[in-house]
Symmetry: C2
């Protein structure tokens, strides 16, 4: 049986959808490190100070890897790092003490894969890529995602580190509210543009600490945690997933760029929608969401609800952390 990806590839080739440095915004992007050009500038950007991830991604591009290889390689960095307590191995568990993982990946042709509520697999982003490449489906969940991963040769292992277990036990003793605010970073979203002008994205997380068992956030959901349109650009999100899932910020950012907005303008509008619709909740719980957008010229933008959000940008031989502007004081 021919899989979905082969159909998508053929469709894109037929439609000539594979662009090359196609301009989509006439406006100067203030936060970008360069101006529009006909040559795509290899770029890897990620939410938060994930410079190790953007470094891994840009090295993929330098070694001839695709944008898809770059975002997968980048996402695997925090997934495999036990000291990153918001993604993959070492991530905070849910209320029952179980680490459950969500991830998605999307390529420039519209191919996509996602896993939700996955347990015991260290690199969910690579399982998501297998869903994209080996099935006609987009999303697999829970036990079904695990069975698929095992059939694909992934190894099941314990992802709850002693450090995360101790933090969970302390929380259980106090049962304090745990919310995604400025003190509680989470989730890597990562976008890459390669020299062919192909733009791809990935997003992976262990989700909100001490969430209800089974809770899924925005990260594995196309259009929420991450979205790519190979003819326009891409976007990704971090922060309290519920606010992103109900406002579809990553899809919105791409749609606004389609209509002429710069990545920065689009990120600011997407944050504005959240603040308008969920103002009291955002203020009372001091909630945080941060967005990141990238177009085919390598222009990027980023914005957050409140102070403390940053992004990592690898472009033009540099790999830097940049502090975000924000909507609320």
């Amino acid at each position: 049986m021919e899989n979905r990806r082969s159909f998508i590839k053929k469709a894109a080739l037929a439609a000539g959808a594979i662009g090359s440095g196609m301009a989509c915004s006439p406006e100067t992007q203030k936060t970008s490190a360069h101006n529009a050009t006909s040559e795509p500038i290899p770029t890897v950007i990620a939410t938060w100070d994930n410079r190790k991830a953007t470094q891994a991604g840009i090295e993929q591009l330098q070694n001839g890897g695709s944008a898809l290889d770059a975002v997968e390689a980048g996402a695997r960095v925090p997934e495999g790092d036990p000291n990153d307590m918001s993604v993959g191995y070492g991530g905070h568990p849910d209320r029952k003490g179980i680490v459950t993982l969500d991830a998605c990946i999307m390529d420039h042709l519209g191919g996509a894969g996602s896993v939700t509520f996955l347990q015991g697999i260290k690199h969910p982003i690579s399982v998501a890529r297998k869903v994209m490449e080996e099935t006609k489906h987009v999303m697999l969940s829970g036990q079904g995602a695990l069975e698929f991963a095992l059939a694909q040769g992934f190894q099941q292992e314990n992802l709850l580190t002693e450090k995360a277990k101790t933090a969970w036990e302390n929380w259980m003793a106090k049962q304090e509210a745990q919310l995604v605010n400025e003190n509680n970073h989470d989730t890597i979203g990562i976008l890459a543009l390669d020299k062919e002008g192909h733009l791809c994205g990935a997003c992976t997380t262990s989700g909100a600490a001490y969430k209800l068992h089974g809770r899924v956030g925005d990260s594995p959901i196309l259009g929420a945690g991450m979205y790519v349109d190979g003819e326009i650009g891409g976007a990704c999100a971090t922060g309290l997933g519920e606010l992103v899932m109900t406002t579809l910020g990553s899809f919105l950012i791409v749609e606004l760029m389609r209509n002429g907005a710069s990545p920065q303008q689009a990120c600011e509008e997407a944050i504005g929608r959240i603040v308008k619709r969920y103002k009291n909740w955002v203020e009372e719980d001091k909630l945080q969401v941060g967005y990141l957008g990238l177009n085919l010229n390598g222009e990027y933008g980023y914005y957050s609800i409140r102070k403390g959000y940053s992004v990592a940008v690898a472009q033009n031989g540099e790999n830097v952390k940049l502090e975000s502007n924000f909507a609320l004081g």
Copy 2:
């Protein structure tokens, strides 16, 4: 702990977001049964010939129920009907012979709840409503969704009817490809507008027949299977979920209406995006997607990739089935 919904309510009241028949489109909607007016016209519409569902919904409105009550009551009709083999009890199982259910619900204030990969609960739409009303989360999955449902008092039961089991066994013997085309209806999406001008939506399904275990489609995903913005309107989808999840059609339809499109124009554009991006796959597998949009004036539109899609509309004392126009011959 105060739940999410109370925050959302307060935010909406503070922002004056509760509109009353607020116009959002200056254009005449050809497919609508009436012209714009300052008085909201109670309306319940659904994908496919779900007139029993729209009838249940409109009766809720006539008896003083809210739009949220109406969409829940409507969605429960096919969920509870063993002869409807695409939703709830009696639905087609997955490849392992297990019925797994997806559903979501969203209200005019931006509150939302969703369940994915839920097993053994006849009315997932009511579980989704409980997620919205009783937790700060939006989406619960798999075993976590089941544990939540049981804690909320739902009963676990066998949802695989003899009829569905026999069909699955026949399929297993032949292992024929099963795709969502014109011969394979699925999913109810339902939207309701009440006399207060509140617009709400719901979507529920047993998903693609003989899917991989754990496969989740568009139906439980806000912005894909269904989306509502209480100041603009709502939309819902049916058909092959993978095409909807990667193009976020319901969110797109609402966004296009925000920018001035009629519901009909918006539905046609959303179908056009699918056909453009996934043309070869759509043609080779004869895939079907149908959309349905409704604005705050009670104007609605609907459109599909190919022939055979229909909708049910309860409005102005009538409850009718309407055949959809379509993009491909």
